[in-house]
């Protein structure tokens, strides 16, 4: 039976500093997929990296107890790629196998494992990871089916529960904070640095509070223009972001930059110009865009993605009922997938039994028919049909028994017995 392994680190197990270090770029994801492809011990696999998690999902060729199913090899690869000693990140990892791995994947795709339960972006990110793996060619029958199942679970959770409501999202948490800082958001201006999906969502929320003005700064000015047009705002050059600070009140940053896009000194300098009027930074980028020391400046507040968690957790608890329902969907999907997996394991045995019986019947039938040359062509065909029918009926009940998987029985035991009864594992048949 194929084993499914999932190795990962997320906001639940690793602090933001470590997640920043572990975060894979698209190029690194492709390098990791090449590693999976080259590694003779891994049959199928995909790599999933977002701002809050890194996950390796794979199916080893053979379950090897000594090497714990290639876990060490994967850890060594991460260590080499990220130039991090294994000891530094290993304690923050989780390793799930089989049902736990499937359940975890379903929960991730359905956004039940996200920092903000119900955030819609995660499904898109899972799909992207799958597409990349598909392109590189590291997926097969099993992962294809598993991933498609995870998409359908996520879709069902989104449609049939209130988990995806706006109330439970990172942007909502940020808006709630903004309300506790500013008396009237309608008189405030917002600057969006970068053009991530989550940032867009936050701006959309702010739009519902009718903020006065929206300014978009992006490395690619064309993208800034497009986004600004979408929000009826104003686009500025990325280099202008510091000077724009004098005129805006809320800054939402979500660039892919590896360094801070705004430093403490820049903000300190601008505070005098803006008469120490309050500034609120929402940093939803990982690695972080906004220097956390900015929070120490008077009348300036910086919240990064981890900081928003506290507020979000309150909202999550309000959605506990929805989560329970969503988890039921996950469990149902897991059972369905497990059934399919078990069937998958039974199929080769059934095929082998069928093949063996057909071979025996054909051999004996031809031997007998060789001495009965007086029979007409129709009679020969009738005898052939009869022997096939006898064989088919003889194995019908055992096959039905093997197909009837589930019911908490140990299928592998019955498969083993069946293979021994029919002597299926000896390649050279001598009937």
């Amino acid at each position: 039976m194929p084993k499914i392994i999932l190795i990962g680190a997320s906001h639940k197990t690793a602090p933001v500093e470590l997640r920043e270090k572990l975060s894979f770029s698209q190029e690194q994801i492709e390098t990791a997929l090449e590693f999976i492809k080259q590694d003779s011990g891994i049959k199928e696999g995909l790599v999933f990296s977002t701002c809050n998690r890194l996950e390796f999902l794979y199916i080893p060729k053979n379950s090897d107890v000594n090497n714990i199913d290639r876990v060490d090899a994967v850890l060594a690869f991460i260590s080499e790629l990220k130039q991090l000693p294994v000891s530094e990140f290993k304690p923050s990892l989780y390793i799930h196998t089989d049902d736990d791995a499937i359940r975890h994947l379903f929960c991730v795709a359905a956004s039940l494992d996200s920092m903000v339960v119900g955030e819609p972006q995660i499904l898109g990110q899972v799909k992207k990871a799958y597409k990349t793996a598909l392109r590189v060619g590291t997926t097969g029958v099993l992962l294809n089916r598993l991933m498609h199942k995870s998409f359908s679970v996520a879709k069902r959770v989104r449609k049939q529960t209130g988990i995806g409501d706006n109330a439970v999202s990172i942007s909502y948490a940020a808006i709630e904070l903004a309300h506790k800082i500013f008396a009237d958001l309608a008189t405030k201006s917002v600057m969006l640095i970068g053009a991530g999906e989550m940032a867009e969502l936050a701006v959309e929320h702010l739009m519902t509070h009718q903020v006065e003005k929206i300014v978009v700064a992006n490395r690619t000015f064309k993208n800034a223009l497009e986004l600004a047009r979408k929000f009826n705002g104003q686009a500025v050059q990325y280099e202008e972001r510091e000077s724009v600070l004098a005129d805006v009140d809320i800054i939402i940053s979500s660039t892919g930059a590896t360094d801070y896009v705004l430093t403490r000194d820049q903000v300190k300098g601008i505070m005098k110009k803006r008469q120490h009027k309050t500034l609120f930074f929402i940093d939803i980028a990982v690695p972080r865009d906004i220097d956390p020391r900015i929070n120490k400046i008077s009348n300036v507040y910086v919240y990064d993605i981890d900081d928003l968690r506290n507020i979000v957790e309150t909202n999550i608890s309000q959605r506990a009922q929805e989560t329970i329902m969503a988890q039921r969907f996950v469990e149902e999907a897991l059972l369905a997938f497990r059934r399919w997996l078990d069937e998958l394991a039974v199929v080769p045995t059934i095929k082998a039994i069928n093949r063996k019986m057909t071979d025996i019947v054909n051999l004996e039938c031809e031997k007998t028919l060789a001495g009965l040359r007086h029979l007409s062509k129709d009679d020969v065909e009738s005898i052939r049909r009869m022997t096939k029918a006898i064989a088919s009926r003889a194995i019908h009940d055992p096959i039905l028994f093997l197909r009837n998987t589930g019911d908490h029985r140990d299928d592998s035991l019955y498969l083993n017995i069946a293979r021994q009864l029919f002597n299926l594992d000896i390649p050279d048949h001598n009937y």
């Binding site: 506790k180 800082i181 008396a183 009237d184 005098k272 803006r274 008469q275 120490h276 008077s298």
Partner: protein, 275 residues
Amino acid sequence: MNIPFILLQCATFFYLISTAGYFCYLFHQKNRIQQTALGALGIGAVVHLFAIVLQSAALGGLPIYTLAQSLSMAGLSLAAMFIYTQYRFRLKILGVYATAMISVLMLASLFLPEVAKAPDKIYKGIFFFGHIILIFSGEAMLALACGAGILYLLQEQGIKGKSPGFFFKRLPSLDFLDAVSYTCITTGFALLTFGLVTGLIYARSAWGNFWQWDVKEVFSLGAWLVYAALLHLRLYSGWRGRNSAIMSVIGFIILIFTFLGVNFFLGGHHQGFTQ
């Protein structure tokens, strides 16, 4: 039977109910509790005012000749100013601070030993009454500014420290708290300024010169300068938010020292009012 004293006891009783109500409101956040607490405060203030009117009639002047009377007057001023700010800003949670302070003032006033003092005939006239009423009202407003400042610092600490906690949901936005504190400071400062001016005019008519370098006068000027500096810094250097809140607390501490500490420890011609 000392009717004014009984009325003061009644007023204190209502103030205590109001304080208990506001503390309940702090935990349960039910509007009905807050309205009851505000109602009790209103009844307490009316009864209190009636007591002071009776006392004034009996004394032939405002009852501010002893420390007990001064504290009682401060309590009434604070109650009146809180009701005014409540009407204007509806910052309900400020009631926890205001009613607690009023109750402490009134309990101290009731339990202080009574000092028999004949009213001095020199303390009369429109400028004297104006001086007293304006100073007490101004200080009450500045006390409320301090309260709003404290609430600001509590909320700011939660947001800055990224652990919103108990007060996060219960307090309004920082902007709003800053606006309330600032309005209280400007109103209080204006009242204090007029109070000092009327005091100067009264001093001229009573003692022949405007300024006598009395310790209380010097400290009052100091407190006035602190608030003047705060307003100046706010207008021209953008001192707002945290700095403004801290200054409002410091300013009020100086005012308390000017009101009580100077009389107790440093003497001066206002000393007689706090015996």
